[in-house]
Symmetry: C2
Subunit: 200 residues, 2 copies
């Protein structure tokens, strides 16, 4: 049996991906983690908020690691983007259209009520964008262009989870990946011949 704290994180991650933040009760969490509520408050004295913060941070770190792994295994950022979307689409299908990312769901629910969680989610999105931006810089884009393009990719990624899951259509995620991969490719090759994107 894995350590209790990890079971809480894993269980909560999956429950958030199905039911969201407010849709997930601590009773569900303790049952899925096979641990009593006393243990939950032992590891997360701050209750649901602290548990959620841990889920956001750990999930954010895990996906960041996955991104670096994919980025290292393909030739250029355009392929990285396409591969990441493709992997997400596979996950979406394989899990029966559970959300790929618990953070986007939770972020939308708590953005106006819990500034600590909002900030945690914001930091995760920024860390992902930063990781991609670094690859874009290495491929020749200047910092500002890279940062903006990377953020747009994260936007499309998160949005494709919403649309793909709601429509039960993983291909929407795959096609979005193709489009964004093309956009990244176009931005990278247009360095010498500035397009509207690069002037903006």
């Amino acid at each position: 049996m894995t350590r209790t704290r990890d079971r809480f994180i894993t269980a909560t991650n999956e429950l958030f991906r199905r039911y969201g933040y407010n849709g997930t009760s601590l009773k569900q969490v303790t049952e899925a983690a096979a641990a009593p509520v006393g243990s939950l408050y032992h590891f997360f004295p701050g209750g649901k908020t602290e548990l959620t913060e841990a889920v956001i941070e750990e999930t954010g770190a895990a996906y960041l690691e996955l991104f670096e792994l994919i980025a290292d295994s393909v030739a250029d950022p355009a392929q990285t983007v396409e591969a990441f979307f493709s992997a997400a689409a596979d996950t979406l299908e394989q899990t029966g259209y559970i959300d790929v990312c618990p953070i986007g769901t939770v972020a939308r629910e708590i953005a106006n009520t819990d500034d600590r969680l909002r900030s945690a989610a914001s930091k995760v999105f920024a860390s992902w964008a930063q990781a991609l931006a670094a690859r874009l810089c290495a491929a020749g884009l200047d910092q500002q262009q890279a940062a903006r393009l990377a953020t747009t990719v994260i936007c499309t990624l998160e949005g494709s989870f919403v649309v793909g899951r709601t429509s039960r259509d993983a291909d929407a995620v795959r096609h979005a990946g193709t489009h964004l991969g093309d956009l990244v490719g176009a931005c990278l090759t247009s360095g010498s011949q500035p397009s509207r994107v690069n002037r903006s």
Copy 2:
């Protein structure tokens, strides 16, 4: 005073945009609508689900109308996309970073629990994509390309709401609009000289 049913819809729309589906109680709804709970169940006998379905459908129709309005006022689909994102960014700022769209939030919360609402949200996304796809077709894209590109735009739009609101940065939405406008423009001008996008 507006009609009671409309007040319920409006109030619920705004509450969803702040607190999401599960984060919004019917007590909040009745207070914001200044109407008793008896009236709520009079107009929406199906309770919270039926109220939500109405909100999804009416909001979907309203944004569809807004899209057509913007599309008619600019020269081409690329500008339409950029203008729509820009308007959304303005809304985000002006409302103090309340969500621009209640449907995306709600969709993610209920996609695994309420198939009727999921289907309603899916239909709305499809109607938006269809409206944009029609403009893309009129500008020269073939049907499949148009449908896929339009869906990607919707993905990015919804995702930019998540990222923009979480990061309290409306420029993320604007830049996403610029990028997607460029992508649309590129797809439209590459008809004679097929790119990867068009071959996919």
